[in-house]
Symmetry: C2
Subunit: 136 residues, 2 copies
């Protein structure tokens, strides 16, 4: 694939679902927040605002509660949803800087939450993104 | 695939990248916000908080600016990044209610932003999600 084509897609999106994580780490509000501040710096991304984080309550069903955090990057995002009681975390890292190495993000979260196993998808977003403005 | 296996995955995630949208609609802060309030209701999802929206500035390069908004649902999210000058929008609708019909979401955004074309990915998230709590 030529460099021109690589440049043309809008962004790259890694979904990462992690299993067997540490209950304590997945339940640690400050740790989730610090990942949302720290990872954009590591990847050279520029947040538009401070991360936000919410507590999700146990609904006694499929969702046993945890932390849900989000940071908006210019113009993409990172999100983290943790489920400490299931040792599960569901993460999105969407960047409009192309060519990043997904293994850096995988390793980062594997270490942060002590994940035993993970499942990832790597998606090229906006493959027909116009390279020039249509309106000025 | 048996129903048991269908139930086992954690959630479903639609990525939708839309082209040829209306400049006015993609540039309309209130419209982006109202999609983030309205769509969860249509899908029977329960937001944890009000939607948040930020203006992203034109960086004179690949990113000509637009609106970036998201709403955190228990426990998943919807995000919208608009690029009016490129008539482009990049959307994620991630829900932990399984079995939703992606075409409802596609039609919803096609109409909301008058999209001429779109590119989607449908991802089953957390296919090994534990159906019971590991910790109580």
């Amino acid at each position: 694939m030529s460099e021109t084509i690589n440049q043309a897609h809008f962004g790259e999106h890694l979904t990462l679902d992690g299993y067997g994580g540490s209950y304590e780490k997945l339940n640690d509000r400050e740790l989730v927040l610090s990942c949302l501040s720290d990872l954009p710096k590591k990847l050279g991304m520029h947040p538009l605002a401070e991360p936000v984080i919410y507590a999700a309550a146990d609904n006694q069903l499929r969702d046993p509660g945890g932390w849900s955090g989000f940071v908006v990057i210019a113009e993409s995002h990172i999100s983290i949803h943790t489920f400490p009681k299931r040792r599960f975390v569901s993460i999105d890292a969407y960047t409009c800087k192309n060519g990043f190495d997904p293994s850096i993000i995988e390793r980062y979260f594997q270490e942060a939450f002590s994940l035993e196993d993970m499942e990832t998808n790597f998606i090229k977003r906006g493959t027909k993104y116009p390279v020039e403005n249509i309106f000025e």
